[in-house]
Symmetry: C2
Subunit: 578 residues, 2 copies
Amino acid sequence: MFRSPSSLPLRLLRNARSIPKPSTVRSNFYSSSSSSTSASSSPSLRSYGTTILISSTTAVVLTQLWNYRNNMVQCDDGAQTIHTASDREQAYVTPDDSKSIIPSSKDPKYATKEVVEKVVGLLKGKFNDDQVTTNPDELLSHGVSANTYHAAAIPNVVVYAESTEDVSKVMKLANEYRVPVTPFSGGTSLEGHITCPYGGICVDLSRMNNIVELHEEDADAVVQAGCQWEAINEELKERGLNMFFPLDPGPSACIGGMMATGCSGTNAVRYGTAKGEWFLNATVVLPNGEIIKTRQRSRKSSAGYDLTKLFIGAEGTLGIVTEATIRLAPVLPTRVAVCGFPGVEEAVQAVGEVINRGVPMQCVELCDTLMMEAIGKFGNVSMPLPSLDTIFFKFQGSNAESIESNIKIVSEISQKYGGQDLVFAKNDKESDELWQARKSAHWSAMALVEGSTCYSTDVCVPVSNLPKLVKQTKQDLKENGIVGPLLGHVGDGNFHCALIFKADVPGEFEKVDAAAHRMVKRAIELQGTCTGEHGVGIGKREYLPLELGEGTLGVMKQLKDTLDPKGIMNPGKLYPDW
Amino acid sequence: MFRSPSSLPLRLLRNARSIPKPSTVRSNFYSSSSSSTSASSSPSLRSYGTTILISSTTAVVLTQLWNYRNNMVQCDDGAQTIHTASDREQAYVTPDDSKSIIPSSKDPKYATKEVVEKVVGLLKGKFNDDQVTTNPDELLSHGVSANTYHAAAIPNVVVYAESTEDVSKVMKLANEYRVPVTPFSGGTSLEGHITCPYGGICVDLSRMNNIVELHEEDADAVVQAGCQWEAINEELKERGLNMFFPLDPGPSACIGGMMATGCSGTNAVRYGTAKGEWFLNATVVLPNGEIIKTRQRSRKSSAGYDLTKLFIGAEGTLGIVTEATIRLAPVLPTRVAVCGFPGVEEAVQAVGEVINRGVPMQCVELCDTLMMEAIGKFGNVSMPLPSLDTIFFKFQGSNAESIESNIKIVSEISQKYGGQDLVFAKNDKESDELWQARKSAHWSAMALVEGSTCYSTDVCVPVSNLPKLVKQTKQDLKENGIVGPLLGHVGDGNFHCALIFKADVPGEFEKVDAAAHRMVKRAIELQGTCTGEHGVGIGKREYLPLELGEGTLGVMKQLKDTLDPKGIMNPGKLYPDW
């Protein structure tokens, strides 16, 4: 399928091909394909290149957690029920009344169940049969994610958008009838972004997965919001282009969600984040259904406010990004090595010196001793790995000579801080194995404790404060008997803690949850942030006043109220007072 | 002087020193120092490292242009008068009335002359004697710039802020009495950002020129808005740190203006622009006087909207940035060379291939044949220069070996496109000479025509469209008999045309002005922007609807009206309907 919004001056690339969608591509609770699976059958879900098994126990835990964490909707029935907005009484505001009512963020006035039902009927009239669904399994797979333990609720209806105009049509209806809208692209969020605490419409963008234009000379591409970053890179490779899109968050993440969360990944130390200059412009459907394009395609522009950036990191609370122009970087030769250090502090110091010397590193990743143990046992890596706090280096250069000369520099610096000799991957196979093991480290971490699951969290501090935060965190975990291997984008001061727990043991979730919150508070005290790359979603809302101050948060809220006066865009996320 | 806002959690660096302010640092019309000079004495103004001479003829021309270009304030008297807001009748709104009035962008209701006089008195009561001035020469030097030929008007009063609290005090008064406020830092804008079409208060930030904190390990620094980028880099060098701040717009530009315009410079091809990730956070005084800090100091954060970016490129229309945390990059070894090509197209193709191969280039600058002639004659460069369309390469690497290997690649690529052999600067002196000649190329351009001056403009298009735009522009200039040498940040598709004219020859200004506008329209047609790095100011306002569309501009206006409901922040800039 190959679509372009007719109202925008987009040139269709003659040779552009659709990126094939893997049969089931989401690492969600259930497959989002129409062949439904029941809640009790432990469905196998293929993410892009990874198989994820979700147990029915997890489903129960997820539902229980609704009660633990969510004060938004009162739930008083059994753990097997996931709540929808239609379960509760809501004030009804007719479209005619809407001008006279300014919705309070604490008491949003959304459409009643009856009105939502009417809107579902109207949606069915406006779209093809296969674009609108109220199938319970599909509602579940869109509102509830196996990636998080936050409160979760399902939408009333899912609309599979196939174009920017489709999204606009949905938003116009939603705006008219005050129905909440939650956008969904990859569904891989770790902070509950996709859940629908007020029910309403889920706009699924996964069918908008085309490269619309590709400009080799300009090293940019116009892509739809449902494109997965790996799929884009695969497509570029298949076309024989020596370019890639360097933002590399979790597997299966899509452009829409990547922009929404202000993502980054292992390449950020070299290429920066989604908040840098990788997104040249965005096509956005505003909460009233209006379509805008934030900027032209030139690499630079100083013409007016940076609206592209306004929507990057806005978590779908200001509008829905349907398309973006992305910049591409040349694929460069790399070499991959690991280096064990006596401790995290030494490793961080070595990395700081490597970076401040300007050695071109594509990635600099830390795994602590415990994570190395997990990877060693379960990571499927054939090369020998240190059983120490270890840095994974990905060297980059325009040719083998420049890489060699950089390796010399890094070896010297590492030795200065007590690092072992660098162990290099001998070939592409070993490199891929090693990087794959790093990318899926939390699966190895889970394997450390049989029958466990993993609570993943993300903080970021100034690099110089990282050793202190890691030390405090390790001490905390030890004192509380929590298995919590660490890994991090250490060059940026960003790290993740994989808190391992058994979902079916009472009290275990609360214990790791409390530890995660203590870690966040410590990060903020150390001039850091509650989230370096995962976004706020539901999980980190409470920390924004502490981290940013009420004044800064107030400005954000002003922007929200201006662009989304009815509060229909992804309600319940990002702001602490929803 | 060394200040930090007491209400913000800023740690004062014990060893931090004030950056010394050069005796007269602005390339403005007159020195902003209190020792005033008269309008007719052709004062010599030292910018940072460059001497600029301004003739009294230029002063007359500037004033005449007020009539050509400005419909905002009706002017009907002689060319020697620069208008202030107090010359015209304005509606007076008391603070008590303000809630009931939403100011129209086309008819802003500002304080009357009498109220402004009252506010000036109040300011004098709140600040030290040397912080508030109504000296006519100082008003002139703050409202009128020798860098532009746009409409210009002076403020009623200049306040030299020495802290964020000072700025807040001014904004609170201005907000209460509806007095327009125009921020001023380096005063080097080329698009009339500093002028005061509605009079009011100019907040001069040049005394806020301290490095407040310097974190070597984190490679960042907290700096005040009045810091010049060259001064920051000099200071880092003096302290023996191997780091620099890579945004390099025109000489003497300061952090405040650099953020306001979303600046970049010759290093952008390697380091990106002000809209990238060089500003980690900003301390901002909002139009109501409230002080916010947009983010913590960690390198990455996904905690809420990217408010730092909201103020970058906002041209002072949403608030005044008083302080920012900047990231620093390691200083790397470089080598500088020039390479002549048969034409602009071949040069651009070669550069495209160099960049897409991932060769680490710090700068890739184009000067066309005419500009090379100017530099050859007047640029004070001792090494031999090609008399062709020429690329200036600045190679970068972590050591001499990696630079050498990259030079080989670039030589091969250049030859493929008909480029001559690279001519290298033999030593630091030659490198500095060459780069200095590139940086001050427009002075050489002016020397091509005796008694001339230069109208500088800036557009940016996708790189692949650059040769077409250059060809069309050269043809246009030829047909209209305009001397217009070109130079550009060709790796980004951004270029400047130095349109040479004699200010005292009737019709010459109109001719180059019309050519500049045709060039802008062509750039927008080629998917480009009316400004790549100079900002909109007064000069490019009319192009925003064409470039962005009314919907996108409407969102910008909504943000403006939300954060600055009284329209007091830098009125007349950026929006076409002011």
